[in-house]
Amino acid sequence: MSDLSAMQARFAELLGRAPARDPAEVFAGDAASLAPRLAIYRGTVQANGRKALAAAYPIIEQLVGAAFFDALAREYAKLTPSRDGDLSAYGETFDLFLSGFPHVSELPYLPDVARLEWAIHRAHYAADADKLDPVRLANVPAEAQGRLCWRLHPACALLNSGWPLARIWEVHRADHSGDGQVAFDTRMHHCLVHRPAWRVLVSDLDEGAYAFLAAVQEGAPLERCVERALAVDGSFDLGAAIAAWIDARVIVDFFVTGA
């Protein structure tokens, strides 16, 4: 075998689970001496995938334990091998895999925790944004304020779940001290993934705040965002919320749409 494409296709096949063909057709040596050598490559490919998945999903690994996570990584890799030379892109569909994987059905919160962790992972690599200068806001004429459209920091993500994701994240932080209990209930939980400086944070949002930021994310003007918040929470305090989000670099920019 002398064609480069054919040799690489054969090498790829030999890195698969149950290679059927004799590696000695391509590589020097015999099948017996080549087996442990190809096993090194198979092991490296698998270990690199597992390492990348664990880097994106540290809470899942803590929840299921390292040994079970090994098995999850192997099963996931069979269905979803890496497609990118940058391994930080690997694992995007792990939540869907967990939803359909019968052996974790007794941990029904895993898929939502995975959704949260992927949002945190992406937030880590998202573009930077400066804090919004309040002077710019003061220059918006009163009659134009309703047409103002906010822009969220590129790291921001909104999630809702039947599980208390912000609390689950909090008790798994390396520097968390004290009570590690997570209380489950039947209500819907909303949270915000954001990056005020370099560390990614997860905050609980009440219904009004979530409705407002979801409207912002859809590109709705301020007037419409306020309506959406007040529809679910009559006590939504716009002034306080905006000030806190500007301070925490959740809201980082705005523009005013035409009348």
Binding site: S2, F27, D84, G85, D86, P154
Partner: protein, 279 residues
């Protein structure tokens, strides 16, 4: 196509691979090392902490960008999106050196994220020349291409790895990154002659040398970058210094990363070996 010859940076430099475990050391102080190298792909994000740290480090040290995922040797072409991210990173940091490997890792949709060896054939050489040229044109500068450690060799290979790389350099205008540890690992794994490999490399073509540790697994050497540089690799390094003249040298350590002081000791040892070779 005419190319300007590869220009060597200041040769009397010892550096270390910068890993996240040592970010704090480089943010809080100025560790005594001449330069640092990072894996390009770890800085492919749009923003965030890693790039923030690299900006800080770049203000204090020359930085080299070492790629592990471009898959220069893929028979089915370069991944343009990956190359575009590398271009963005090189434009932003203006590194001292940019390097990649003599290997492939991607086929079709699949990426193995490993440095898989190439056969040393005319056809493979033509593919490498085409892709290295494409990368150099996109970056508007020369790159270094590194020899890899391997656990298999191809029946079709018609020359040694360094002879292949020297010819690649001649045809594409690239420089070489000589990994002395990889030469030793391959010598043990394949019965190759590491000194003969070094002897076929002309002075002036090598822009950087890598040193690292390996592990021994069932009579095979595995290039795990997880320990100190071994005595036979120091001996080979001294031979390389005598043959090639002083070349910027990097200590790589990727698994079981120790305290920074250990890496600095290894970098200082590299300087001592290099100086002794040129008395």
């Amino acid at each position: 196509m005419q190319r300007a010859p590869f220009v060597l940076p200041s040769p009397s430099l010892s550096g270390i691979g910068l890993r996240a475990a040592h970010y704090r050391d480089f943010l809080d102080g100025r560790p005594p090392v001449d330069w640092v190298e990072v894996h390009s792909e770890n800085y492919f994000g749009d923003g965030g902490y890693d790039l923030h740290v690299l900006e800080h480090v770049r203000a204090n040290y020359p930085v080299s960008l070492h790629g592990v995922g471009l898959s220069l040797g893929s028979a089915d072409g370069l991944r343009e999106r990956h190359l575009a991210k590398l271009v963005r990173l090189v434009d932003r940091f203006e590194p001292m050196l940019v390097s990649e490997h003599l290997c492939w890792g991607a086929l079709g949709e699949r990426h193995f994220n490993d440095l898989l060896p190439m056969p040393f054939t005319e056809q493979a050489l033509a593919v490498m020349v085409r892709h290295v040229t494409q990368v150099q044109e996109a970056l508007r500068r020369e790159i270094l291409v590194e020899n890899v450690s391997s656990y298999v060799t191809y029946r079709e290979s018609a020359m040694g790895e360094m002879a292949f790389l020297v010819e690649l350099a001649r045809r594409s205008g690239c420089g070489l990154l000589l990994d002395v540890n990889n030469l030793h690992v391959n010598a043990v794994n394949h019965g190759a002659d590491a000194r003969a490999e070094i002897a076929c490399v002309p002075a002036g073509v090598v822009g950087e040398i890598h040193l690292a540790g390996y592990a021994e697994v069932d009579e095979l050497l595995v290039d795990d970058h997880g320990s100190r540089v071994s005595p036979p690799v120091w001996d080979l390094y001294a031979a390389a210094c005598r043959q090639l003249g002083p070349v910027p040298t990097l200590i790589e350590w990727d698994t079981n990363v120790p305290a920074l002081a250990v890496l600095l000791t290894e970098a200082a040892a590299a300087s001592a070996v290099r100086d002794a070779a040129h008395v």
